[in-house]
């Protein structure tokens, strides 16, 4: 148990750094990019991130690409009339002056065709394509399977 706690505290504190990086492109700020460990490479991974539009023009996230997966796509978890489904999101609006979160239970990137299993502590890059701002690449930290989000001082969770 002691070893487990020690290991847990090490793995929790170490990878938090990159997920807490902030990248900007034009009026957009992209931060808190994270993913969860997967069991094997046969199941899809997940990608979460937070985007803030400080400008006065609406934008939208229209696609993601990553060397970690052959078929990354944007999805949205929708719970309607007590049924959860996960439709493909063609684009995720990032309205002027607002923040949008890809987070558990809502919008998320689904990383299909993983090149390798994602392990806690790993990191990989994801390139986000915005309708107006263009492309920006962020580093994504792989957190534990049971993580609820990166532990950043400014994460506002």
């Amino acid at each position: 148990m002691k070893h487990f706690l020690l290991a847990a505290s090490l793995t929790l504190s170490a990878p938090a750094a990159m997920a807490c990086e902030t990248v900007t492109i034009g009026d957009l700020t992209v931060e808190h990019a994270w993913s969860k460990a997967t069991i094997g490479a046969g199941r899809p991974g997940v990608f979460y991130v937070e985007i803030t539009n400080t400008g006065s023009t609406d934008d939208a996230l229209v696609g993601i690409a990553t060397p970690a997966a052959g078929m990354p796509m944007l999805h949205e978890t929708v719970v309607q009339d007590g049924i959860a489904s996960m439709p493909h999101a063609m684009s995720i609006p990032v309205p002027a002056g607002q923040s949008v979160q890809l987070s558990p239970g809502g919008y998320h990137g689904m990383l299909m065709g993983l090149t390798t299993a994602l392990k806690e502590g790993d990191s990989f890059s994801v390139t986000l394509t915005f309708e107006k701002a263009g492309e920006v690449t962020v580093n994504v930290d792989v957190l534990s399977l049971r993580a609820e989000g990166p532990d950043c001082a400014d994460a506002g969770q």
């Binding site: 069991i39 094997g40 199941r43 991974g45 996960m86 239970g105 609820e148």
Partner: protein, 197 residues
């Protein structure tokens, strides 16, 4: 003679009143008794990862925390399983009184991908079950939950599963207790369970 027929009419009226009174008294009572006798007791008979058939009967004496899902679901299912795992860790020495069960609604693919590896990664006590299509449908019908395969080219293998994402609690005698809707925090599930233990 006129008095006698009046008496008969009175007797008939009195009897009718008694019958009507009894009917009104006993009808709802009978319904209550019927409802109590047929308490909602959902059941399943499904194979575990080693192919052994597991049924609701063998878990009598424990609270059952049942969740339907599929392992190729990157968002909803891991979130719920993480909450269940948190509840199991937080129950501490009471964890033995609760059996968490994950029922695959995508059994063929989940057997191929490996069900036990998946559930154990969240918590060793979580039992993953994946039956035949017919057995799965029977379990879902028994729990009155909905699931459906949806063709979707943007999902792995070209399909995804829509499903009821709730977490269902059964009593140690197998009766339905309640549902925790998707997104119920682990702390809330924990305190509900602790109030029953």
């Amino acid at each position: 003679m006129r008095l006698r027929s009046f008496q008969i009419i009175l007797w008939v009226a009195a009897t009718a009143a008694v019958v009507a009174f009894a009917a009104v008294r006993w009808w709802p009572a009978t319904e209550d008794t019927a409802a109590a006798a047929s308490a909602f007791t959902p059941t399943f008979a499904l194979a575990d990862s080693e192919g052994r058939i597991r049924t609701t009967d063998e878990f009598r004496g424990k609270f059952l925390l049942v969740f339907f899902g599929f392992t190729s679901c990157p968002d909803v299912c891991p979130t719920t399983l993480s909450e269940v795992a948190q509840v199991m860790y937080d129950l501490g020495s009471d964890a033995g009184s609760v059996q968490p069960i994950f029922i695959s609604i995508d059994p063929e693919r989940d057997r191929r991908l490996g069900l036990a590896d998946y559930t154990k990664a969240f918590h060793p006590a979580i039992l993953g079950l994946a039956g035949s299509e017919a057995e799965t449908q029977a379990a879902a019908a028994s729990f009155k939950i909905f699931y459906e395969r949806e063709d979707d080219t943007s999902s792995p293998d070209g399909y995804t599963m829509a499903h009821s994402p709730g977490l269902y609690l059964l009593s140690p005698d197998g009766a339905w207790l309640r549902q925790f809707t998707y997104g119920t925090p682990a702390a809330e599930i924990l305190s509900d369970l602790q109030s029953r233990l």
